[in-house]
Symmetry: C2
Subunit: 198 residues, 2 copies
DNA sequence: GGTCAACCATCCGTCTCGGACGGTACTGTC
DNA sequence: GACAGTACCGTCCGAGACGGATGGTTGACC
């Protein structure tokens, strides 16, 4: 039974149920939407099929409502919790994956009109500012709540990434990419070289 | 025929052929591997099927070798170039997508052993340092070549992102996440608040 | 001319994707 | 308490992505 390979999406489901307690697919959908969905997106349809698979594997327990809508509620079994904890403890030698259409367009724009770049940059600046506002909003609303404190940590990573992207597109729009490079030298030189030197 | 929706992967192929000239799937595979593959990954098998589809649409022209291996070489048609340029000029309101297993594990580690975090951080620091080295290597080798200069621009975005992630995981390992926040205030405060204020 | 490693191409079963569609419950109106 | 309207919720499905396994081709070296 543990020979079955679970996908990251499986663990998102296990993890979400572990954090929230027993949940319906729709509960998960909403919870994912404003948390983990920001760094692991997947179609909501999977939240309706995947839990059944996990239930078949004994990682989740299923209870169905008697009433009309016959909602399915899934809860974590001991086996499920163990599987989740094993995954959390396992090494992760993977680098994150990016899928960035804007970057793609920038890369290929040699072939296109140079005028495309400023508008591309403007759009991206807007995107990243909006996202930063969303993240900052979360920090403001939940930052003080001790219960959700641990979940705020990944927000910091998100914010770092957003600011990095924002800096890039802003510098590009202002035609001053060299500034970026100089700034990086100043900021992380110590950290990087110290650890790289090993 | 232009009613057909092309995927980003289709445009990667069109774009690569536009930059390199006529190419075989294997050419593309290698070219993608050390460039665009870093921010748009996809299985190599698609480089053998997708060009045929694009050829059917009239966006690529196909010529087959007579010799034994019967290599297929694809080149861009006028229609293909027009499609590519149209895509490059079209607005992009999309935000990049991330898929970060490490971040996932960090998010759910409330459920796991706190000891997982330091090793997770150590692994990620290694990943990002390696990737930075790869990128810096590219800059050193091709940075001076005027022909590849335009393609170096996206490297700067990659480096910004890598350093952002590296800063985060380093701060996490050192238990000093607050430093990040303070540093962000100092660096981008002007840019962000000015534009967010609207 | 034989062997080997590197190079190159294809196939295929499984899973993902995301959008369209359709059913269910609640709310307000008369 | 019938009805319409509006969220809320779940499922389906075709197209495409995925990635690993497999097998053929080529040139180099013995």
């Amino acid at each position: 039974m543990s020979a079955v390979r679970l996908s990251p999406t499986s663990y998102v489901i296990l993890g979400m149920i572990a954090l929230r307690g027993p949940s319906t697919p729709y509960d998960l959908k909403r919870a994912v939407g404003h948390s983990v969905g920001y760094f692991w997106n997947f179609p909501h349809a999977q939240l309706y099929s995947e839990p059944d698979r996990l239930a078949d594997l004994g990682l989740l327990a299923l209870s169905v409502e008697d009433s009309g809508r016959r909602r399915k509620t899934y809860s974590l079994t001991d086996l499920g919790r163990a599987a989740l904890r094993a995954w959390l403890a396992a090494p992760t030698d993977e680098h994150f994956q990016m899928r960035d259409i804007a970057e793609l367009k920038l890369f290929f724009n040699e072939v296109g009109d140079p005028d495309n770049v400023p508008s591309l940059a403007a759009e991206q600046i807007k995107q990243h500012e909006e996202r930063i506002a969303v993240y900052e909003g979360m920090v403001e609303r939940f930052g003080d709540d001790p219960a959700s404190r641990p979940r705020m940590i990944t927000l910091e990573l998100g914010l770092e990434m957003e600011h990095a992207a924002l800096r890039f597109w802003t510098a590009l729009a202002e035609g001053d990419l060299d500034r970026l490079r100089r700034a990086r030298m100043g900021t992380t030189a110590g950290t990087t070289s110290a650890t790289t030197a090993e």
